[in-house]
């Protein structure tokens, strides 16, 4: 069981440990270096047990409430130890394995991820299936005691570094015909091609599956559970991951305050108010999670608030550091450009508003 009874107690202990153990990243900002740094941070935090709190003991954790993971991630983000987007991927992947993998598979695999020994990826989106994820066509066909997968995924984060993939495939028509597998990325027939992105960090890839053989015991859940698996992970993404991201954005507002020579109180205040709002909302979501609530479509509100705040912050950066994004080689440029994806990844802003209209406002079908 967890030795910590409150989040505040845990935070104090983590802070003391991080003050003693220097995990600061080096000067290399390449993606290779970021991923290596992420592995280093996870490994150190796992070996010192911090990474194990908030996860169940049957997958190598030490138990305790999920809020401990939010606190740890906030410290990692606030100190800039790892890029928060890729750090938070465990928050989506681990609950998926816990809920859908066989107990033996989860117990074997999850520690490899938490300890930084492996990176994993999620094979969801396809060239023809972005917002309309349920139309995916990557096919899995049963053959003896295994399945044969053919198709293509895209926007697969960290696929080029990943040892495993949570893969959505089609095994029958419709939403109930989507089936998930846990696939080893070194299986013959898998080809990964990194995509060049607008912000210069090639974290996404295309992944091609050509007669890829997947053992039947690597199915996550049962045939047809894939859509539910995809829906179940959204609340995970939108609770703990969001808290991490908000902590990261606060560090960027601090940095802007430090660097700007063209301060504008109205713009700074507006950026701060938007961040404070999403922090308060995310705080409420964490509280509901701690009280045992099942998170659902109301997390689309968190998503819209976060994406809006992020874009507002980086537009303020560009306004109050005139010429820096455009003319200098500062890291602000990449971050400014990446913010443009905030209303696209993880379900577009339009999809979120559709969900809010349908599920929260009960406006019926559009």
């Amino acid at each position: 069981m967890s030795a910590f009874t409150t989040a505040a107690e845990f935070r104090t202990a983590v802070q003391a440990w991080l003050d003693e153990h220097d995990l600061a990243p080096g000067p290399d900002r390449s993606l290779d270096a970021q991923v290596a740094q992420l592995a280093r941070v996870r490994r150190a935090l796992f070996d010192a047990d911090w990474m194990r709190y908030g996860w169940p003991e049957r997958v190598g954790g030490l138990g305790g409430p999920a809020v401990l993971r939010a606190v740890l991630g906030e410290e990692v983000a606030t100190r800039g130890l790892a890029e928060p987007g890729i750090y938070s991927m465990v928050e989506v992947l681990t609950p998926t394995l816990i809920s859908y993998a066989s107990p033996d598979l989860a117990a074997e695999m999850v520690p490899l991820l938490l300890s930084g020994r492996e990176q994993w990826c999620q094979g969801f989106s396809e060239p023809g299936s972005g917002s309309d994820l349920a139309s995916l066509t990557t096919r899995a066909v049963p053959q003896g005691d295994h399945w044969v997968v053919n198709g293509q995924k895209v926007w697969t984060s960290l696929a080029q570094y990943a040892a495993r993939c949570v893969l959505l495939t089609r095994t029958a028509p419709g939403h109930d015909g989507i089936t998930a597998f846990f696939v080893d990325m070194d299986t013959p027939g898998i080809t990964v091609r990194p995509l060049r992105t607008m912000h210069g960090v090639d974290e996404f890839a295309e992944v091609f599956f050509d007669d890829v053989i997947v053992p039947a015991d690597r199915m996550l859940g049962r045939p047809g559970d894939g859509w539910r698996l995809a829906m179940d992970l959204l609340p995970h993404e939108r609770s703990t991951c969001f808290w991490h991201r908000v902590a990261h954005l606060y560090t960027r507002l601090d940095r802007l305050l430090d660097q700007t020579e063209a301060p504008d109180d109205a713009a700074l205040g507006a950026a701060y108010l938007a961040l404070h709002t999403v922090r308060c909302r995310s705080h409420a979501t964490q509280r509901r999670l701690a009280d045992g609530a099942a998170l659902g479509p109301e997390t689309s509100v968190d998503k819209v608030l976060l994406a809006t705040a992020e874009q507002q912050l980086f537009e303020t950066v560009r306004d109050l550091l005139p010429g820096v994004v455009e003319l200098t080689g500062s890291p602000w440029r990449s971050e400014y450009l990446y913010a443009r994806a905030a209303t696209i990844y993880g379900g577009t802003a339009e999809i979120q508003r559709n969900i809010i209209a349908r599920r929260l406002l009960d406006l019926g079908r559009d």
Partner: protein
């Protein structure tokens, strides 16, 4: 108070606010219901519940003076106003129902509790407008379809809900001076966002005096300026950030 008691209280208050005439009669009715004792004993329940319900029902009462005192109140633009007791004289204000009178001057008073209270009022006003617009979108048929089936309309209402939910989260954790300032700013901004989108969704009918929307719109605009407008408070937060050199993290897990 446990949730069942709060719910019972809420329903009693809602009934009172929808059946008793706003102004002096409602002041009396609230006193009889024990408003002052409730405020003294359970301010964390009394303020959100009563002020939010004023917004949702469109009623008004002089309860703000119980929170901040019967003193001149700062208004946007460096102005001062007084919350009149007793009968409402039709004023020169945009919201003629509210007994707010312009004063030549005033003296600084503590405003944090008042900002939280007016913030909850603004939130309730925003919710009232969203309820009206949602109902209209479902009922009104054009081109053979309910308005609610058009994505442009749905997204305006979704945007309104996002603003209101965000403001409510900020209000719910507001404690200190900065937290209350931010809560009032978020609530003012959300109510004005609701006014803009809901007015548009309600189209022509929402522009008539016989439809209730205009009363909520007027209230939102007037309450936004009371104890500092969203615009002013946001600027004030920015100045504070610059003075501190860092962005305070006000809520912790």
């Amino acid at each position: 108070m446990d949730p069942a008691e709060v719910e019972l209280l809420t329903e009693t208050l809602r009934k009172t606010m929808t059946t008793v005439a706003s102004g002096p009669a409602l002041d009396t009715a609230l006193l009889e219901l024990g408003w002052r004792e409730l405020l003294a004993e359970y301010p964390e329940v009394a303020v959100p519940t009563v002020f939010r319900l004023l917004g949702e029902t469109g009623a008004h009462a002089s309860v703000l003076t119980d929170v901040v005192g019967a003193v001149p109140l700062p208004y946007a633009g460096g102005r001062w106003v007084e919350w009149g007791q007793g009968a409402t004289a039709p004023g020169a204000g945009l919201d003629e129902e509210l007994p707010l009178r312009l004063l030549p001057a005033g003296r600084p008073v503590p405003v944090a509790a008042g900002r939280r209270a007016v913030g909850w009022w603004l939130l309730g006003t925003g919710r009232a407008m969203l309820t009206l617009a949602r109902g209209h979108a479902l009922d009104r048929v054009q081109f053979g379809r309910p308005l609610a089936s058009f994505q442009a309309v749905r997204h305006r209402l979704a945007e309104t809900l996002v603003a209101l939910e965000g403001a409510e989260a900020v209000l719910a954790v507001a404690e200190d001076g900065l937290g209350s300032l931010l809560a009032k700013a978020a609530a003012g901004q959300a109510a004005l966002t609701a006014a803009r989108h809901c007015q548009q969704v309600l189209g022509g009918i929402g522009f008539t005096a016989e439809h209730p929307l205009h009363r909520h719109v007027r209230r939102a605009v007037v309450l936004d300026g009371l104890l500092g407008s969203a615009r002013e408070l946001t600027r004030e937060a920015g100045a504070l950030l610059r003075a501190e050199g860092a962005a305070p993290r006000l809520v912790q897990l």
